[in-house]
Symmetry: C2
Subunit: 466 residues, 2 copies
């Protein structure tokens, strides 16, 4: 969901909404009444509240994620879905240990730090070393080989809030490529300014991997205020030609292959030969918070929309709900799903995994012949303030593998990500961040799209598969 | 600074500002030019940046506060003040240990907790006990004696943001009286929803004391999202008649009498017989953050204003700056100052200790005969958007003892506290929270007031001392 965007101006949206007339999108399942009913949804919030309260954090491969699967199967059955099941798979698991960071010279003070996923351990004694500062990943890349030997490399960035989350793609490499580059240049450890846009003492974790043959080193993220403080210290120290030393303790460990699982539920359709619509989210969260935005909300939204359709009567096509396991730590659930289900007939894949704020744009990647349906969806979404002037849809992380293996059509409902990276992968991703009104707009948009595509009998098979 | 308030409407402020004319408040030191110069101040931010970057947290009685005193003496001398000195005193010191909290039954998950100042220790093994929930302090007070025996009492509250910080007075007793009440009812430990108004996983610490003869018990504050989660768990468990158990580990300790100190600096006046104007802030912070809002900013603001006056030429009266030590943990600096200086001739006391957001109201407690000066100040502050329709001034915490012992006149410049209790006593009280523009408005207001009172020769002696 992290692609460049073309923004519709509010004026353009309003003008389009005014032109919209009920007659223009009349279908067998009237979108307007379905939309209005969905705007009163309570199921999405109920699922998000349940997962974050009755389970809490749900790190992949841990007993907490297993409890989340039990909760999910029970909940999806209670909601009345069919074929509710857990499809287990194994995946390598890394767990957090102790984590502290402090400047020891010249201005002793403690910082808030968290280990990045797959960080090596410093050992209980920690590492104390001189800090070398770079204001970008490019600056560290330009440092001579061996120049970081025995040192702690510290890299900052200039990420800002953006509606479409573009900053993540631009500055994320500081997290996911930086540790390997630092290791190759001989660094003893690597710390970054958290990849985020907030001002709280809550560091952002997230996955990274060392390239084949590169020695894993300890790698952590400082909270943004702490990173700003360290940056000021580095600049003061440079002026006075004083060294800066940091002591870092990170003791995560790899605990080997553990069980995770994909939770599946269905609204069975009247005609299975028409192929399934796959709607996805991920059940696992990072361990630092209860994962309300990332991604209990996504599971709530897609499931609430499927329930709206189910409650309206059996749709033509089957809608399959996938609450994927182990997304955060390497898309293991999405890979396992694609492996297990490549032979099944899917027609369209969709995912919700970008919080719970208003959807502002729909994007499509549909075959020739679907123009009428596409136009119908775009018009039906206008009353919700959703435009359609975007690039082609590409799908979310959990459905990326099945989209690739089965060459699926895709529809993306893009959420407002302005505050997403304030919360993403931090301890602050908790239930209070959900705005129920915006969440209901999401459910209404998803219900609108599903009501059209689940009841349309046109062929969504993409050209190269024909 | 936590008193009920009468708000001036924006319209009233604007109307008053329009009526304001330069001629109305002409004094020897022209307030308008002094104000305009002060609006360009950089010293307040420089002090706040220095204390939070080059020292960091400055808990009273620790080596960090001692480093802060060294930094302060050096800085105040460099700024050109006279009689810069440290006046040491001793005070009892409590320091934080390990702190964790987790629900163990029925929905295992970890919460963010911090010990309240003067909390007892649970010991390294912690306490695991059933949780009893109260939605107010009054509800816990109404519980039968002995009903909390061996249990962990959990109290929430309904504090909201307010411009004048009124919520702190209303709900603060949950923190400062609750632990004693819980102990008297037999509780093994006490946890609260942090006394604050934010939505972050950063609990609010703060001082409390057990009444004479009441056994100290472990007492901690959960972050607001965690407390909300525990509240939901308590309500679900109540419906299902399940017990809820929590494991709490808090290992703070009392380390006995330690040295703190008051830092003093002066702008010596032309006529010492006119008595000193005392302007105060506190140098110590809580240990969880670098104390930018609480209260490096206050020290920055009062000192920058004094420097503006000093740079303009020797004032009639001496201005004494007090950066008090050990405020957070029991006003030890203010008490020590009053004890050492009751014999000195002070005439007016003022303090800045409520962040760095805009000043919105001036309050006075001046003797008869000061009406003209009071009016002059009120008018001179109007261009800064500051009204004067408040209650009598009462002064800040650090000057409360000298005000009482010497019966001093007081002027309060009330700051906008809307977001103060988002940050107060949390890890989030860091430099990035300072809005330099609002901070400069503070410096301009303080400079305006000081320029009038330091150059006025009227007698500010309060009636009962005459």
């Amino acid at each position: 969901m992290l692609k460049p965007s073309i923004l519709l101006t509010p004026v353009a949206i309003a003008a389009a909404a005014m032109l919209f007339s009920k007659a223009a999108f009349a279908v067998s399942h009237d979108p307007e009444s379905i939309q209005n009913k969905a705007l009163k949804d309570v199921v999405a919030f109920e699922i998000t509240e349940g997962l974050t309260t009755e389970v809490g954090q749900r790190q992949a491969g841990t007993e907490a994620e297993a409890r989340a699967r039990d909760w999910s199967v029970k909940k999806l059955k209670a909601l009345g879905f069919q074929n509710v099941r857990n499809e287990p798979f194994m995946m390598p698991t890394w767990v957090r240990g102790a984590e502290t960071a402090e400047v020891t010279v010249p201005y002793p003070q403690k910082f808030h730090v968290t280990a990045l996923g797959n960080s090596a351990s410093t050992g209980d004694a920690g590492i104390e070393a001189e800090v070398v500062y770079f204001d970008s990943l490019a600056a560290m890349q330009a440092a001579p080989d061996g120049s970081l030997k025995g040192k702690i490399a510290f890299v900052t960035h200039n990420m800002h809030r953006a509606q479409d989350g573009s900053g993540y793609g631009a500055f994320g490499p500081v997290r996911w490529n930086g540790p390997g580059i630092a290791s190759e240049k001989g660094a003893a450890a690597y710390v970054i300014k958290s990849i985020g846009t907030d001002s709280h003492r809550n560091p952002h974790t997230g996955n990274m991997n060392f390239p084949e043959g590169v020695k894993p080193i300890p790698a952590g993220a400082l909270s943004l205020p702490d990173a700003d403080n360290l940056e000021r210290i580095m600049k003061l120290a440079e002026k006075s030609k004083m060294p800066v030393a940091m002591k870092l303790v990170l003791t995560p460990q790899n605990i080997g292959e553990q069980e995770s699982g994909n939770i599946i539920a269905e609204v069975t359709g009247r005609d299975p030969s028409k192929g399934m619509i796959l709607i996805a989210c991920h059940l696992d969260s990072w361990d630092l918070a209860t994962g309300a935005f990332d991604d209990a909300a996504g599971c709530g939204i897609v499931t609430a929309a499927a329930k709206q359709i189910m409650d309206h009567g059996k749709p033509l096509r089957t809608i399959r709900i996938l609450w994927a396991g182990a997304e955060e730590v390497g898309l293991w659930g999405g890979k396992a799903y694609a492996k297990a289900h490549t032979g099944s007939k899917h027609v369209i894949a969709m995912e919700s995994d970008f919080g719970a704020d208003n959807i502002w744009r729909v994007e499509f990647n549909l075959p020739d012949g679907a123009e009428t349906v596409q136009k119908q969806i775009a018009q039906a979404l206008l009353p919700l303030g959703i435009g359609s002037s975007g690039p082609p849809a590409t799908g979310g992380a959990d459905v990326s593998n099945i989209i690739a293996s089965n060459n699926l059509a895709v529809i993306d409902l893009q959420q407002d990500g302005t505050r997403y990276f304030d919360l993403h992968h931090t301890p602050d991703d908790t239930l209070d961040k959900i705005d129920p009104k915006q969440m209901r707009q999401n459910v209404a948009a998803w219900t609108t799209v599903l009501s059209v595509i689940a009841n349309s009998d046109i062929d969504f098979t993409m050209p190269s598969r024909k």
